[in-house]
Amino acid sequence: MSGPVERTTATRRVSVDHALCSGTGHCAETVPAVFRLADRRAWLRPDADLDAADAQALVRAETICPWMAVTFERQEST
């Protein structure tokens, strides 16, 4: 394992589905603070501060992933 593929905070959830990811690296280029590439797959950086990450960039990463492997959800906080 080269890191987590799913993380949830109080307000956000980001995941990479390894049944789909084919390692193009688009996500890591779009949001390097959150995604990294290793062994031809994308992983979440264990130390990433999800709540501080640029939400627009996360939406772009989700949109541009050619394998539709990235999910970014915002929970409307309670």
Partner: protein, 409 residues
């Protein structure tokens, strides 16, 4: 507007065996320049090529990525690189799972058997063969037939007809089809009906497409037919890729020696670096829908037709040191991905299948055929035009005897 230089890249005038020099001259003078020969804005820098892929909202495929027409193609014909999101997104979502890296890896035993069978056949031909027609094309045709579950008896017909330019319906949007085209539409429609009647059990991609639903609706027969065509057309790049890889290796004797010394360790690298050096897609088109800036300062205006060269991007010295050399010792971890499979939402959906075929093809050829080389004195030729890099024929020779199959322990 200032006087712009006329680009050196002239892909219709007897295509250079290595267009990198022309493209390098253009990039060095002006990486984004109007080309009278292409009647388009020509883009040759890595960063600008990537930006065109990234910004699919400004740079549209709906006028066709093969030659943008004056009007978008009719919506019902828009598939893959004739489509933009959201129509494109919905099509792609259906298919990514079947072609993902993890799924395609399971096909490896099939690939090994197919490639070894073909090499057994080459052995029977004596010491020479045509790599393109006797090996690379059959490898790719066998794979797409397996993936789509095309019945054995129909294969020749389907593969031949699918690659006719008229088969997408673009040349014939009035619906005034010739008898052959009509027969073809009937065939596709019938295929969808038969698969639907047979039920969702089979695991070929045609069946998957037939039973896919979006908000409770199945896809139209016509759309499924066009998606199948798109997959067959896209897959044809693999045959060209295998030829380009062999030719690249043969042109770099020191790299070939290194490769033969460590086939296990270097095959993945050879395929990545070889597709950077000479991938089958030289360049593609888009049409600008809304004003957008490209790296280098060019502001693209709505209506502009853009030719962007993946080959030129892959030979950009800003990104790849000594770009015009095939080098297996590049530190790939430190380099950005090559543009051989494109960039962005249209990034090649067959990448994993293409890589698998190329890796097994190259490693098995060089392992089993001692002394494999281009026939001395043979000069290969390129297909014409700005879109493809593909050798029409590669005459190879080897010394016997052929070594045992690699797919049986």
């Amino acid at each position: 507007m200032s006087e712009q230089p006329v680009p050196a890249f002239k892909p219709y005038e007897g295509k250079a065996a290595h267009p990198w020099e022309q493209l390098a001259a253009d990039r060095a003078r002006c990486p984004i320049v109007h080309s009278p020969e292409l009647d388009s804005v020509q883009v040759t820098s890595y960063e600008a090529v990537k930006e065109i892929g990234r910004n699919h909202e400004a740079f549209s495929c709906t006028y066709s990525a093969a030659w943008p027409l004056e009007e978008p193609v009719p919506e019902e014909l828009q598939v893959f690189t004739l489509a933009d999101p959201p129509r494109h997104t919905r099509q792609r979502r259906l298919i990514v799972r079947a072609l993902s890296a993890s799924r395609i890896n399971r096909m490896r035993p099939f690939t090994e058997r197919t490639v070894n069978d073909l090499i057994d056949g080459l052995a029977a031909r004596g010491g020479s063969f045509d790599l393109v027609t006797d090996f690379a094309s059959p490898v790719s045709e066998t794979h797409i037939s397996e993936l789509l579950g095309i019945p054995e008896a129909d294969r020749e017909y389907v593969l031949r007809t699918a690659l006719l330019p008229e088969s997408t319906g673009l040349a014939n949007t009035e619906g005034l089809a010739s008898p052959e085209l009509e027969a073809w539409s009937d065939y596709l429609r019938e295929t969808v009906r038969t698969r639907r009647a047979a039920g969702p059990g089979a695991d070929d991609l045609t069946t998957t497409l037939c039973f896919a639903e979006e908000n409770g609706d199945r896809f139209a027969e016509r759309e499924i037919g066009l998606l199948i065509l798109g997959l067959i057309a896209g897959n044809a790049s693999t045959g060209a890729a295998i030829g380009n890889l062999v030719r690249a290796l043969e042109q770099h004797p020191d790299q070939k020696t290194a490769y033969l010394g460590d086939i296990d360790g270097l095959t993945e690298t050879l395929v990545e670096e070889g597709l950077r050096y000479d991938g089958p897609i030289l360049g593609l088109y888009r049409r600008t829908l809304k004003e957008a800036e490209l790296p280098g300062g060019h502001v693209s205006r709505p209506g502009e037709r853009i030719y962007f060269s993946l080959g030129a991007a892959n030979h950009d010295p800003e990104i790849f040191d000594r770009p015009d050399e095939l080098r297996l010792d590049r530190d790939r971890k430190e380099l950005p991905a090559s543009m051989a499979f494109g960039y962005g939402v249209h990034h090649c959906i067959g990448m994993n299948l293409g890589r698998l075929q190329a890796e097994v093809a190259l490693s098995t050829l060089y392992r089993r055929l001692p002394g494999l080389r281009l026939r001395p004195g043979f000069t290969p030729e390129q297909v014409p035009g700005p879109m493809f890099r593909s050798w029409t024929s590669l005459e190879m020779v080897h010394d016997g005897p052929v070594l045992p199959r690699t797919d049986r322990a």
